[in-house]
Symmetry: C2
Subunit: 332 residues, 2 copies
């Protein structure tokens, strides 16, 4: 109840207190009563109550959410990489040369150390081999099928089941409060779009992400869009505010991330006028999910955590703040 408010704290607290008395239904039932929860609710009340000095018109209520590690899990590796690996195995019969070439050899032999040893260049090769060289329709069909069938190795659940119930509630609460919710992902834009509407309630046009180059052409008179094996835009770190500016053209009123890759998006959000909500999810739950931060190769969280604490952004402690992690853990 501190960070996001610049100005008249007292007036704000009154608004907040009045609202508590109203006895509305709890918009965040999977959250323990905590500072994080109070701050989210207080912020939403402050910018949406007609009589609040911090009222913001609906058109400007933009909320941006990172995806990997923020709306769904990202361990033991980004889920998109699982897709690339499964796809390499599927495509392997047509690529006998892969049996001798890293990183493909490592994938086919289940030797993830060899894959990782191929470095960023190797991972890029994997991505391009599996995400480019086909039409958008072909990619979408392949990835949609994978999303409906592939299972996560630890939980034996569809990847789309490994989304965070408490964050689904935040998304819904914001939309119920007149916000437009967006995903702003460092991952590929098109994979997320295949499930964002069904799983998050976020339509494809409200997904921002990294992109490869695409090319329109007529094939036998039929228009197609072809995915080319070239990077077009990386929507990560300093790329996130740029991706937001390109796609949305407005500064977010609220932003939510979990790693140093989200720092600039949070800074850009925080620098706007009036109250802003900056959420940083700290993965502290090694039992129910994963515990990692500054030492992790995936979703590394270091500088952003320091800044969040220094600037009083809302740091969500997964272990302490959340009653459940995934929707399938909800009691009937």
């Amino acid at each position: 109840m501190k960070s996001f408010i610049k100005g008249n704290l007292l007036a704000f607290l009154v608004v907040f207190a009045l609202n508590l008395q109203a006895g509305d239904q709890d918009p965040l039932p999977s959250w323990h009563e905590s500072d994080s929860k109070s701050q989210i609710i207080a912020f939403v009340e402050a910018v949406t109550s007609n009589d609040s000095p911090y009222f913001v018109p609906e058109a400007e209520r933009i909320a941006t959410f990172d995806n990997d590690g923020n709306l769904w899990s990202e361990q033991p590796m980004y889920f998109q990489l699982f897709y690339a690996i499964d796809k390499v195995k599927e495509m392997a019969p047509d690529h006998p040369e892969w049996r001798e070439e890293q990183p493909f050899k490592g994938v086919l032999e289940g030797d993830m150390n060899a894959v990782m040893a191929s470095g960023e260049a190797g991972l890029l090769q994997l991505m391009m081999a599996t995400h480019a060289g086909m039409t958008t329709a072909e990619f979408n069909a392949s990835a949609a099928k994978w999303l409906k069938t592939a299972k996560h190795p630890r939980f034996n659940r569809l990847y789309t089941e490994m989304v965070y119930q408490p964050m689904l509630e935040v998304l819904q609460y914001l939309r119920d409060s007149g916000f437009k919710t967006y995903i702003v992902s460092g991952g590929g834009i098109d994979l997320v779009r295949l499930f964002s509407e069904e799983v998050y309630g976020i339509p494809p046009e409200q997904v921002v992400g990294s992109q490869i180059k695409k090319r329109f052409e007529l094939r036998d008179g039929e228009p197609v869009i072809v995915r080319e094996p070239k990077i077009f835009f990386i929507d990560d770190k300093a790329g996130k505010p740029v991706g937001i500016d390109n796609h949305i053209g407005r500064r977010p009123l609220a932003a939510s991330g979990n790693s140093d890759g989200d720092l600039q998006m949070l800074q850009w959000t925080a620098a706007g006028e009036g109250p802003r909500l900056m959420l940083l999810l700290h993965h502290t739950d090694g039992e129910r999910e994963w515990a990692y931060d500054s030492e992790s190769h995936i979703g590394r969280l270091d500088t952003a955590l320091e800044q969040a604490r220094e600037l009083d952004w809302v740091v969500i402690d997964m272990a302490k703040d959340w009653k459940v992690i995934y929707p399938f853990q909800l009691e009937d």
Copy 2:
């Protein structure tokens, strides 16, 4: 009542006829009764009536509109170029070298032939000198001020007053029918965003356009986004379907353009399943607006007109189909 319908024409005509009997208010009052008007209304009825065999769920009702020459005029040159010219004059005192350098010299001396003789490279120089090298906030402030003050040489009206009343009605009619309306412009995305909400009812996040490269940075600890003098994406011709795929991630159900630069967007739209609406505005009105097509250097319309006629897309004849051109011509 022909082109866009694939399949059961009879069932469709019945739906259309039933609706006419309902005697609803005319959604397109600035349109003469014409084939164009009937086709637009019949299409909207076909995809939105619950009992229509061509019903399309609201989430998929995406309509994309070109801007220059389609929602506002584009003669005697693109309005964005007027901005660049006015800006060069404003900036000239800080650039004494421009007095000797084309295309700047031509601009300062009012010699548009010299400017045009500098070709595409010269125009690009003009654009970069006036649209890049500043923060997004600085550009937006400058362009917003221009939009509020600069007047068109022929009509002595604000550029934002030179929008087409009949097209404003189409935009509103589509939105009232559950469509999300988008601009997909070959011009710069950020200039359009400054007036699209107020003038067209289209929020900034529903504007797609050409883009220069942007860079996020901290200036004395304050986050800014800087506009760099490099092309990032050209949203014209084959770029339009790609821009649509990047920003929206769905194929349009309806698309509207006026030049060969819109052909691929119309082709991409037409290639979708079920009924689609393809509108092509033909500038035939030399008295009230301008008359031009295959010989024009601006908004050249040649192949797209041929294809539209061949494929029975809706070709709008500005002189014959529209009662008025601009909102300021409406009778009180």
